[in-house]
Subunit: 336 residues, 2 copies
């Protein structure tokens, strides 16, 4: 049986592993600093499809097939899928997996979706019910910009606070089959809203939630930041990262030495012109599937806190003057 | 530890209860046959707010506060919230719960959302981590019609296959605290797509998924339909119900004698002009919170299968010619 720890954390008694990961990314991500870690780099954003949305679904589908192949599993070995994306009614994932014939829990945590999926899959395995669970999340620069901001053809100028939505799909197998990467515990995020209303400043909207879940993880487990080799937030970018360090410092913890954000890692600041960095479900998802998982397997990283972050907004909520709540889910991961 | 049963079911070892329920509905639902079962009936669809979306969020929020009051619990007693709705990026729920300060898993299962939430909350309690979990789902006729179909001001004629989105919010406490209503097991749905592309014929789009999960529940547990006093699907309406009976019959099971659909129960066919019946997350959610839960507590019903049903579509997926996949989650519930 798992145990609830402190205010919002849980520790698992069962051994829960990340058996395998896969990542598929767009061409821009494939030119970035993490290029050698990705499994598949697309030649173009449309992936041979007539629409960007169809391209996103195809990317999710082929990437899930890939992670099964890498794990030497068949679809019949998978008990559940937990997946989601940024499209209205998570239609990217729904269309991608509909031929897989596997019990499916659709989730929405904005760009924190892969963290939410990892937490829910771990809880499921801890319950004794699931054995092999496929989790996935995706985002696509073109579908996201079109849906949340401006038509791409408008060539709108992007403010310096904006981040660049990562085109990519990630998929992991969470399993009771032993691997070298183990999920030890989770700290589930609550919505934190500091009143940001600018859909082009999501780093600031999400940083309070990231800081809150990191602080509560440290408090609930009574540990200091140096317990972790690294803390990775999801897609706060440069502005959000600095805010997070400040907010965590106010609670008495210094994470400035062993903390980075996947939105900073995935693009090159000097040559790739993404302003505040990368964002989207795939930002943390493909960075984990690629670089972070690799370093955990190789024991370059021994203990990490993986904190995918999400900005909870829709065009309707923004138009009606609602502020953007942030959410972040923290996953404690160890190398064996 | 829970047990995986058959192809897509699970049975719980721990005692998992539905401790309390609450429902808030709109004026049309308050004139329907179930009027005496609802906790709150609104005077109008706007609930004193400037927009229908804000009204939906307020309804979710006040209804969650109500279920806690009814259960004599405080927010600090709640370990997790699992909730969702039909609005883009589930913004109804996100805005409603942001001041509650409780770890939150956002989910999207279209109109099957409350079934998904009950399944996930049960798995969580089975894992030993959560003790009291708040689940909720909502829909609103005006926000849904505006988002998925036509502006209401257009006064568009509705085809006879169409259903009427229920305005309402439901909330339940899933708990290890004993009550007279127990969740025994679940059958988790997979996406089933028979190629329907008409957003005004969702009963036909969802019926294959409903039939699939009912058939698999019966097979996995090796039981006959008369094991249940009643089987309730979510929001298939008249057309979807007939299709479901036919499809289940093809697998060798006759559910015609002890099966109804919440979309048929919630409105009066002769006087309320809803064509094929009710739909929306709140259709099954408030019917359960009201009538079904009441009858379970009073032992008028002893064993039921509750099967919320969802149509996975977005305006973009419809416009791009994608068909509407259905999904349904079955919850086995017993009266003690």
């Amino acid at each position: 049986m798992g145990k609830h720890i402190g205010k919002q954390s849980a520790i698992f008694e069962n051994d829960i592993y990340i058996l395998e990961t896969a990542s598929t990314v767009g061409p821009k991500e494939g030119e970035g600093p993490l290029r050698n870690y990705f499994d598949v780099i697309l030649d173009d954003e449309s992936f041979g499809e007539k629409t960007w949305e169809k391209a996103e679904s195809k990317m999710i589908k082929t990437n899930m097939e890939l992670v099964l192949e890498k794990a030497k599993l068949k679809f019949k070995d998978i008990d559940y899928i937990y997946a989601g994306d940024l499209l209205n009614q998570t239609s990217g994932s729904n269309i991608a997996i509909k031929d897989f014939n596997i019990p499916y829990f659709g989730i929405f945590g904005a760009c924190s979706t892969i963290g939410e999926a990892m937490a829910l899959a771990s809880i499921n395995i801890e319950s004794g019910i699931g054995k092999n669970i496929l989790v996935g999340a995706s985002s696509h620069f073109c579908t996201a910009e079109k849906q949340f901001r401006f038509p791409l053809g408008l060539g709108n100028q992007r403010p310096l606070t904006s981040t660049w939505t990562v085109t990519g799909a990630c998929a992991f197998i969470i399993s009771d089959i032993k691997s070298r990467v183990k999920i030890k515990g989770i700290t589930t995020g609550k919505i934190v809203d500091f009143g940001i209303k600018d859909a082009n400043n999501m780093g600031s909207a999400m940083a309070p939630a990231a800081a809150d879940v990191i602080i509560n993880n440290l408090k609930d487990f009574n540990i200091q930041p140096d317990y972790y080799d690294m803390i990775f937030t999801g897609d706060l970018g440069y502005i959000g990262k600095e805010l997070t360090i400040e907010l965590v410092k106010e609670a008495g913890y210094d994470i400035s030495k062993n903390y980075t954000d996947c939105g900073i890692e995935i693009f090159d600041k000097n040559t790739q012109d993404t302003h505040s960095g990368g964002s989207g479900c795939a930002c943390s998802g493909t960075t984990f599937a690629g670089m972070i998982y690799d370093k955990l397997k190789n024991k370059e990283l021994k203990r990490i806190l993986f904190v995918p972050t999400g900005a909870l907004m829709s065009t309707i909520s923004i138009q009606q003057g609602e502020s953007i709540g942030g959410i972040a889910h923290a996953i404690m991961i160890e190398s064996l």
